[in-house]
C-alpha cells in the first residue's frame, strides 16, 4: 500500500470515483489517510458518510476544499460540522458538469460551454455565450494530480472493467488524473480480460493494487 500511495504531495487535487459507497475506492482512501498528504482538494460526487473513508480524511483536517454535487448523505455529520465551522471550503458543481469537467481534463479540452446552470446561482461570475440561439456558461476542466479508482478487474497494463453501477465516475477519474491509482477486486493476467470488454484502457492507469474488498455497504 505504501508503494502505491507514494509521491502524493501536500496540496494535491485528488479525484475520487464512486457514487455513494458503490465503486468507492475505500482501501485507497485509507491508504491516503496513512500516507499523510494534507491541504488536499478532493473532488467526488458526495462528501463522505459516517466517520470512515473520506469522512475520516476530512475529520483529520487533511481536506482544505471539497468539490462535489451532493454533500448530503444518510450521515453527513463530519462534513456538516466542518462546513458550519468554516473549516472546509465547498464548491458545489452540478453532477453532469462535474463528470464532464473530469472527462474534458482527460481529453485535453481546457473548458467547455454547457446549458446546465444557466440562469441559476451556478452561472454567477461565469462567462456566458449565446450559440445557436441558446445561452451557455463556460465550465473549466477539472484535472487531478491524483485519481483514486475502484475497478472490478485490472491487469498489469491497467486495463479495467467495472461491475454494474460501480462504474460511475471511475473511468473519468482515471482519464483526468496525472497519477491514477486503482484498487481492483480481481487482478487478471494480460489477455485474460476480453479486449472488447475493457472499459478503461491501461494508458489512463499508473498503479494497480489488488484489493478483494467485497460488496459495497453503507450509503
Amino acid at each position: 500500500m505504501a508503494d502505491t500511495m507514494s509521491g502524493i504531495k501536500d496540496g494535491s487535487v485528488v479525484l475520487l470515483g464512486g457514487f455513494g459507497a458503490v465503486g468507492q475506492p475505500n482501501a485507497l482512501i485509507e491508504g491516503l489517510i496513512e500516507q499523510g498528504a494534507k491541504d488536499l482538494t478532493v473532488a467526488a460526487n458526495n462528501a463522505g458518510v459516517g466517520h470512515g473513508g473520506l469522512a475520516r480524511l476530512m475529520e483529520l483536517g487533511r481536506v482544505r476544499k471539497i468539490i462535489c454535487s451532493f454533500p448530503r448523505s444518510s450521515d453527513p455529520v463530519v462534513f456538516e460540522t466542518l462546513y458550519r465551522a468554516g473549516r472546509i471550503e465547498l464548491e458545489i458543481v452540478p453532477q453532469g458538469t462535474l463528470a464532464e469537467r473530469m472527462r474534458a481534463a482527460g481529453a485535453g479540452v481546457p473548458a467547455f460551454f454547457t446549458a446546465t446552470g444557466v440562469g441559476t446561482k451556478m452561472a454567477v461570475g461565469k462567462e456566458h455565450r449565446d450559440i445557436g440561439g441558446r445561452s451557455y456558461i463556460l465550465e473549466h476542466a477539472l484535472k487531478g494530480d491524483v485519481g483514486l479508482v475502484e475497478a472490478w478487474e485490472a491487469d498489469r497494463w491497467g486495463n479495467l472493467t467495472f461491475k454494474q453501477a460501480g462504474r460511475n465516475f471511475n473511468p473519468v477519474v482515471a482519464m483526468a488524473s496525472d497519477l491514477t491509482l486503482v484498487q481492483a477486486q480481481h487482478v487478471r493476467e494480460l489477455g485474460e480480460i476480453d479486449p472488447d470488454h475493457v472499459v478503461t484502457p491501461g494508458i489512463f492507469v499508473n498503479r494497480v493494487l489488488h484489493v478483494p474488498y467485497g460488496d459495497p455497504s453503507g450509503f
Binding site: 454535487s69 451532493f70 458550519r84 444557466v118 454494474q164 453501477a165 460501480g166 460511475n168 455497504s217
Partner: protein
Amino acid sequence: MSATTAAFKPFTRQQMAQRAAADIPEGWYVNLGIGIPTLVADYVPMDREVIFHSENGILGMGPAPEPDKIEPWLINAGKQYVTLRTGGSYCHHADSFAIIRGGHLDLCVLGAFQVADNGDIANWATSDTDSAPAVGGAMDLAAGARRLWVLMEHTAKDGTPKLVTRCTYPLTAPGAVKRIYTNLATIDVTERGFAVLDIVPGLSLDDLQARTEAKLHLPG
C-alpha cells in the same frame, strides 16, 4: 369553502404517480427524480416499453429486487437497490450525463419546491444560505431533457402555493417545465401561463385558483 369543494379528495402520492404514468407513451426514455417521481415507474403497464435511465449510469432500470435477490452494486441515483431489465446497459458518469445534457431523454420527471408560470423550477435549495446546498443532477436534468414534468403537492404543508408567478427559492433552471401533476390538478405551462388540463373530482376551478398564486387558464 363552497359545497362543491367539501366533497373533493386530493390524489394520494400513488394516484399522482399513476396520473403521470398514464401520459408516458411507448418507447420513451425517461429519468425519474427522487421522491414521488420514483413511484411513476410502478404505474407504467408492463406491456408498454418505457426505458428508465438513472444518472449513475443505468439505462433500462427495472423495479426494486426481491429482498433475496439484491445486487449490492446495482443502485439507482437515490441509492436504492434496483434491477436491470433485459436489454439494459451500464455506462460511466460522463456518458450518462451526455444522455441527459445531449437532449437524448424524452422526459424527466422531478419533484419541486416551486414552479412559476413561465416554467421556472426551484427544487434544490430553499434559501440562499442553505448550510450545505446539494444540487446533484437536478440542473443537468432540468436543462437537458427534451421535456420536464414536475410531480409535486399543489401547496406546501402550511398551504403556501407552490405554483407561483415567480420562484422565490434559488432556481434549478429557467423556463424548463412543460407540465405539472399535483395532488389537485394537471397543469400545462404555456405561452399564456398555467393551463389547467384536469382537476380532481369535486374541486372547482375557482377553488383550485384559491390554492394557486399564479393565474390559471383553461386550455386553448
